[in-house]
């Protein structure tokens, strides 16, 4: 099971990030999680939103280079050791994690959520599914 993530190209200069975020805020799209990866010159903004179609359309219309892609959303018990378990499973399965970030929601204080993308995303998803790790669906994201 995968969820959709938005990735946008952001120049590493003042105001560039704020411009994209303000475009989204005008549409009323709600962000569940945000992460930014940066290099000296540019960054990639990664967001999980409740309405990806509206977000995509708005950004594209405003000349932002953006793409929707599949990532894995994992629900973890919010306690020491749970992330380590997930990562160990992936390592044992020979899967390399490209990036990940985490978020929590006020509605469910017992859980933490992890967004991750692996070089071999399908393989990672299968390993987690085989080990009964709870993964998020698109509906889960919408209803958070």
């Amino acid at each position: 099971m995968f969820i959709k993530q938005l990735s946008a190209f952001v120049e590493n200069k003042q105001g560039a990030l704020s411009q994209i975020i303000s475009l989204l805020s005008e549409t009323g799209v709600n962000m569940r999680a945000v992460s930014i990866a940066d290099t000296q010159d540019f960054g990639i903004l990664r967001i999980i939103v409740n309405d990806i179609d509206v977000a995509l359309e708005t950004l594209k219309k405003n000349n932002v280079i953006v793409r929707a892609n599949n990532v894995i959303g994992v629900e973890l018990a919010d306690k020491p050791g749970s992330l380590s378990k997930v990562l160990s499973l992936l390592t044992e399965g020979g899967v390399n994690v490209e990036y990940m970030y985490a978020f929590v929601t006020p509605g469910n204080s017992n859980s933490a959520y992890l967004v991750l993308r692996a070089r071999h995303n399908e393989k990672a998803e299968k390993i987690l599914a085989d080990n009964n790790i709870k993964m998020l669906s698109e509906d889960d994201i919408k209803n958070m």
């Binding site: 990735s7 190209f9 120049e11 990866a37 290099t39 010159d41 000349n63 280079i65 953006v66 993308r117």
Partner: protein, 432 residues
């Protein structure tokens, strides 16, 4: 519909062309010696009298003219007729220094119109067609030059001039433009705007484009032809010699035919100033044969190019010049290496990167730095930093092997590099 505008001269034999050129050169030299003090002084200094020039074989004896000469004699020092015979002035844009001003007599304008009309006909345009002129009208020769050609041919010109892209698109649709003339970078911008505003270019009557006034590549031609659904023709010209139409392209699209009944082209070795062989690179030098108001002898264009005398399949016999491979003026000297923006453009298009780029030259300490910024596109963007970095590295590697010096490659946001409505500003040199 005729294939040529003036078939008798456009398909004349080499002997006929040479004889006509010799006859006209003798008379042109006589005129400038009598009427332009700079030429009289230079020829006297070299010990040459007009009578020493017996034909085109004596061309090499004549002195050169440089852009600086035109600045030194600004405004009217090179004019060879009294002002009562001058009916039009144009001026160069002055992007590379002080502007210069040129003049035209009635005959000059008629001749100019004829050579532009040769281009229009070569592009398949006939009397019943409408030519959308999106070159600037004014002191710049682009707009009025194309208009003069349309007038001589008898087709309809639509003087839209440059700028206001939304209006250009409306006119193109409502007035049913059959052909367009503008700079190639503006043609690309128009195509991009058409796509954005949902104009289906395949439904437009537009079928030919005449593009010039700035360097462009074969890759750009392909993009323009595809996106505007037209055939794109390359026209060459320069204010000092006439304006657009000094050389024109036929449907073979294999070099531009130089209007040899009005101009002599020489390709000279930049160091020895001796002619190079067909196909070899050198500086393009022009001599005006028929110009009355502003006749230049052996004007050094600072454009680098080649010529070929090989027979063209279109049947025209005028020599063909290559697209200029760069201007000596545009040439950047970075860490002692000659770099032409056109080389960088070629690399970008080979890698299917955006044609919207900017070259930034700077100096860190004593070392020159070169950075090429390219807009990111849907096709080049990836969700993963390492993919984008890999592409940057590949671009940097290819630039290094093409240019011979290291360059930093950087992706920037889509739409962030200023679009030009006139000439493209490709280079930012911060060293001075």
């Amino acid at each position: 519909m005729s294939k040529y505008y003036q078939p008798e001269i456009e398909t004349a034999s080499r002997d006929e062309i040479n004889n006509l050129q010799s006859e006209r050169l003798i008379s042109a030299v006589k005129r400038v010696y009598e009427r332009v003090p700079l030429y009289r002084a230079r020829m006297d200094k070299l010990g040459i009298k007009p009578g020493d020039i017996k034909g085109i074989e004596d061309l090499g004896k004549l002195p050169f003219t440089s852009k600086q000469d035109l600045r030194d004699t600004y405004p009217y020092g090179m004019f060879a007729v009294p002002m009562e015979d001058v009916i039009r002035l144009h001026a160069s844009s002055g992007t590379t220094g002080k502007q210069i001003v040129v003049g035209y007599t009635k005959n000059d304008l008629d001749n100019w119109g004829d050579i532009v009309a040769r281009q229009l006909v070569a592009a398949g345009i006939n009397k019943s067609d409408k030519v959308h002129v999106a070159y600037g009208y004014g002191l710049f020769t682009g707009g009025l030059g194309i208009a003069e050609g349309a007038r001589r041919l008898g087709c309809t010109s639509i003087p839209v001039s440059s700028g206001n892209t939304a209006r250009q698109l409306t006119i193109m649709q409502d007035f049913e433009s059959d052909a367009i003339a503008c700079t190639p970078s503006y043609a690309m911008y128009l195509a991009e705007s058409a796509e954005k505003s949902g104009v289906d270019t395949s439904k437009l009557p537009l079928r030919a484009g005449i593009f010039g006034a700035e360097p462009w590549t074969e890759e750009m031609r392909k993009q323009i032809e595809k996106s505007l659904n037209i055939k794109a023709y390359d026209i060459y010209g320069l204010t000092e010699i006439m304006g657009p139409g000094v050389a024109y392209e036929c449907s073979e699209q294999k070099g531009m035919h130089v209007n040899e009944d009005h101009f002599i082209i020489e390709i000279l070795d930049p160091d020895t100033h001796l002619p190079v062989k067909d196909g070899e690179k050198g500086e393009i030098v022009f001599t005006c044969l028929t110009k009355e108001a502003f006749p230049l002898i052996r004007f050094r264009t600072k454009d680098i190019g080649t010529v070929t005398h090989e027979k063209c399949r279109c049947g025209r016999t005028f020599v063909r010049m290559s697209k200029p491979m760069g201007r000596i003026d545009d040439m950047l000297i970075i860490r002692g290496v000659n770099v032409f923006p056109s080389q960088i453009e070629t690399v970008l298009l080979q890698m299917n990167l955006s044609p919207n780029y900017q070259i930034i030259v700077d100096r860190k300490g004593v070392l020159d730095t070169l950075e090429v910024q390219v807009e990111i596109t849907d096709g080049t963007f990836s969700d993963t930093i390492s993919d984008i970095s890999r592409l940057e590295n590949e671009l940097a590697g290819r630039l290094k092997s093409t240019l011979g010096i290291a360059a930093k490659a950087t992706f920037v946001a889509a739409g962030s590099i200023a679009r030009s409505e006139g000439k493209a500003k490709r280079v930012i040199d911060r060293r001075n």
